[in-house]
Point group: C2
């Protein structure tokens, strides 16, 4: 009896339809301008259908967050996984992070800036799963740098990973929220990447 399976597939197909339409509108017009009616109209369903698949708009947002995380952050780590030198890999990961963040500001906002209310603990754990995996890869990379002799052995990978993450997140979000306009830099992106390289030098020097 593959009927129930087929039914479930059909349900999931509609759910995916909603998610994809939501994501498209979200990327094009931002979260606040992504309305239930717009999504429904895009997939040629009535507004009510969305509430058969998601508790509310926030729940839909959570699903989008998870999808974006799965797709992009893991891809980032994969793209540098073949670099043998751990320090170079660490540096490249940061560069990739920044590049992705400024190239996909809406996606980035979805993953790291937007506040989603999440009452259920199950939802909470699912929400953090992919993020935790990414942080673990980062910490593992830091440990490899310690093994390889780039970093001292008495540093704390937890603290260093937060410093690294805060730095790139800070750069990306200041850039994306146009707060770098305060600097009279001719090319803001270039200025930002230059600062990141200086930061990398500082890391290398001070953790040796």
């Amino acid at each position: 009896m593959g009927i129930n399976e087929r039914k479930e597939r059909e349900r999931d197909a509609v759910k995916d339809l909603i998610l994809n339409a939501a994501r498209e509108i979200f990327l094009a017009e931002g979260y606040e301008n992504t309305s239930i009616r717009k999504i429904a109209s895009k997939i040629e369903y009535s507004p009510g259908i969305i509430y058969n698949h998601f508790k509310d708009k926030n729940d839909l947002l959570l699903a989008l967050h998870d999808k974006a995380f799965e797709c992009k952050i893991e891809a980032l780590f994969m793209s540098v996984q073949n670099m043998p030198d751990p320090l170079e890999r660490l540096q490249a990961t940061g560069r990739g992070y920044i590049q992705y963040g400024i190239d996909n500001p809406q996606d980035y906002e979805l993953m790291f800036i937007l506040s989603c209310t999440m009452e259920a603990l199950a939802v909470k754990e699912e929400f953090w799963q992919d993020g935790a995996a990414a942080i673990n890869m980062l910490k593992e990379n830091i440990r490899e740098c310690m093994e390889a002799g780039y970093f001292r052995k008495d540093i704390n990978p937890d603290e260093i990973s937060l410093i690294l993450w805060s730095q790139v997140h800070g750069l990306v979000s200041l850039h994306n929220k146009e707060r770098l306009n305060i600097y009279a830099a001719e090319d803001q992106k270039a200025f930002m990447f230059r600062a990141y390289e200086v930061f990398l030098d500082m890391i290398k020097k001070s953790l040796a």
Copy 2:
């Protein structure tokens, strides 16, 4: 004839009434839950009155931003201005920044995260004025650290200031958006401040 002056005072009084009510609701319920009708009802005026003082809700947001900036960021720099040692002052400024950011998340969001559309160039310049002043104080502090021999003389205050700012902004916004939940730290705030102190050590060591 002080009549026009009095009229203007009365106009400004209403404007202040709006701004204060807006700020109160904003801090209590967040930007999205701050409606024109709520503000108007709080000050016992009709909704329309707000449009006699502000072009639209975004314009009101801009005014709130400017006010928050004036009040808080300058106060931060004032509070450490009597510290004679430039490096200590630099470090304390960062600590104060983080503390303010996590103690006043709504205010912080208003100043550094919220996107306000701003077409008029005049608006733009006014918007960045206070921020630019703060960055200049930061850069001046860095230069003093160079003079005092704490930092090498071949560093670029622009780049270093962005690194410092990105770091503390990154910490605050990851914390406030609850993204630090990924870390299994017993006390997230303490963990964050510890990371900041490690970062300060790195700065000191690598720029010497």
